[in-house]
């Protein structure tokens, strides 16, 4: 039945899928083999000792969440506003809109170290925030904004024109149409954009080294320096002899964190969808 070309094509597809999965499995197995042994409630709940070779990651986890909180807290409203502006006021084809979109796409592909240097120069030095969770979070916000804006804007663009016209024909104000019809309809895209952003921010190292710093103490405020998980992993595996085990354990925690955020977002957007469409 199947001709040989077809079969070869099928095999190639399978090969690609298995290859990708295998690489991830290998990677995951490697850090699990190394780190699973030292993973425990204690590891999550205690402070690091001996440069991280012993003890746990409690303050690092707290710093990470604070940095992420600042980043998302700033990027979400600003990004939403920018995406709505782009979608409403620069409909397809206008020159200004094209330029802004091009700039955003370029920024989205910018190496994170560039954002780190910018964050250091602007937030840490110019605004005098120093090495702090605040400047780290703001730097990450700047880093995830482009991708967030573009995702949300694509989502808004995909909202049926019928709803937009329908809302206008009913004499709804632009803001009412946005709040009640357009944004809810774009909720899955907004969720996806946030997810992409959080995922990128949680895994970020380079941009944070120059902005939120290395200090592994428990942060007392947003003005304190704080070490993010990814920075901790980097430091343990590169600068601390014998830190491999805890680096792997921390990596497992990071993977779990990102997976959690992902699952949460998927569940959330699915609930939105079923509530509205009841498919």
């Amino acid at each position: 039945m199947h001709n040989p070309g077809d079969r070869l094509f099928g095999l190639a597809l399978w090969g690609a899928a298995v290859g990708v999965t295998a690489v991830f499995a290998w990677l995951f197995a490697d850090i699990a083999r190394l780190g699973l042994g030292s993973l425990s409630l204690d590891f999550i709940a205690t402070a690091p000792e001996n440069a991280g070779r012993d003890g746990g990651i409690a303050p690092i986890l707290v710093s990470t969440l604070l940095i992420l909180g600042v980043a998302v807290g700033v990027a979400a409203p600003v990004g939403l506003g920018a995406a709505v502006w782009l979608n409403t006021y620069t409909r397809a084809g206008s020159r200004g809109g094209r330029r802004i979109r091009l700039a955003l796409d370029m920024l989205a592909g910018m190496p994170s170290i560039v954002f780190g240097l910018f964050g250091n120069a602007f937030f840490s030095v110019f605004l005098g925030l120093g090495f702090s969770i605040l400047s780290g979070g703001l730097t990450l916000a700047a880093m995830i904004l482009p991708i967030f804006i573009r995702t949300v804007e694509a989502g808004l663009g995909a909202v049926e024109d019928g709803w937009r016209l329908g809302a206008a024909a009913l004499g709804l104000t632009r803001s009412a149409a946005l709040a009640h019809v357009i944004l809810p309809a774009a909720a899955p895209a907004i969720g996806a954009g946030l997810m992409l952003g959080i995922g990128r921010a949680a895994a970020e190292t380079a941009a944070l080294i120059f902005t939120s710093g290395y200090v592994d103490r428990m942060p007392e405020s947003l003005a304190d320096s704080g070490r993010a998980l990814a920075v901790h992993i980097y430091d343990l595996s590169m600068n601390v002899a014998g830190g491999d085990v805890h680096a792997a354990a921390s990596a497992l925690v990071l993977v779990a964190l990102v997976a959690c955020v992902n699952l949460m977002a998927v569940a959330l957007s699915r609930r939105w969808l079923t509530r509205r469409l009841a498919v």
């Binding site: 016209l165 024909a169 004499g171 709804l172």
Partner: protein, 276 residues
Amino acid sequence: MTPHTLGDIEMGPPCCVPVPHLSIENLAVAYGDTPVLSNVSLDIHKGCITALIGPSGCGKTSFLNSLNRLTDLIPGARVEGRIRLANESGTLDLLDSSLDVRALRRRIGMIFQKPNPFPMSIRRNLELPLREHGMRRADLLAHTIETALADVGLWNEVRDRLDAPALTLSGGQQQRLCIARALVLEPEILLMDEPCSALDPIASGVVEEMIQSLRGRYTVVIVTHNLAQARRVGNYAAFFWMRERIGQLVEFGHCRQIFDAPVHPATAAYIGGMHG
């Protein structure tokens, strides 16, 4: 309490005494540098159903959109000429740039080709425009919603599931919900852009009957490609055609005259072609 949405049956005089509700003079619509409609002049009579017929792309939808200023939403759209809406105190110039467009759209409702209920519950679909136009009292809202749904023959079908998502309704029900959503605002004029073309024949028949029931209480302007439908529902018919790639109004008159004794050869050919 009297029904809200349908208003007084005697609101308009019978169709045989034509009273212009909308007077259109030399209307021209262009998108950017491309004119799509020019030199359209006609009166839309109060309480009557006016059917707009003609091939696709000859400007019927652009004509409709300019009546409630939906053309404002289309980048680069320009509308010229005059559209006057008869008021208690004289007339209102609809193309006046200082006109309150929200208030206008409350008076001139619109139904689209593809049913477009919002992705929310049936109740919320009707509540949203009411609330946005200032109705807050729960009992008033409930009453108005029930009346509107009854008007479009949907109340008995959905009374037990008002909080179900509107998108779970069938196509015909969705379109009737959209008509109800326009009716809750108590408009005087309803613009309908091929309201039945996305529906199956049975649902289309139900919606058509519903539109018939609006005669006398509302002024209806309906675009349709279904000539039989235009003939069934229309009091007046306007035939649009392309000349040099620009849509024009070729003939306007009583439906019976347009279908049985068209004056213009293009009208005769179009209607004849449909018959043959």
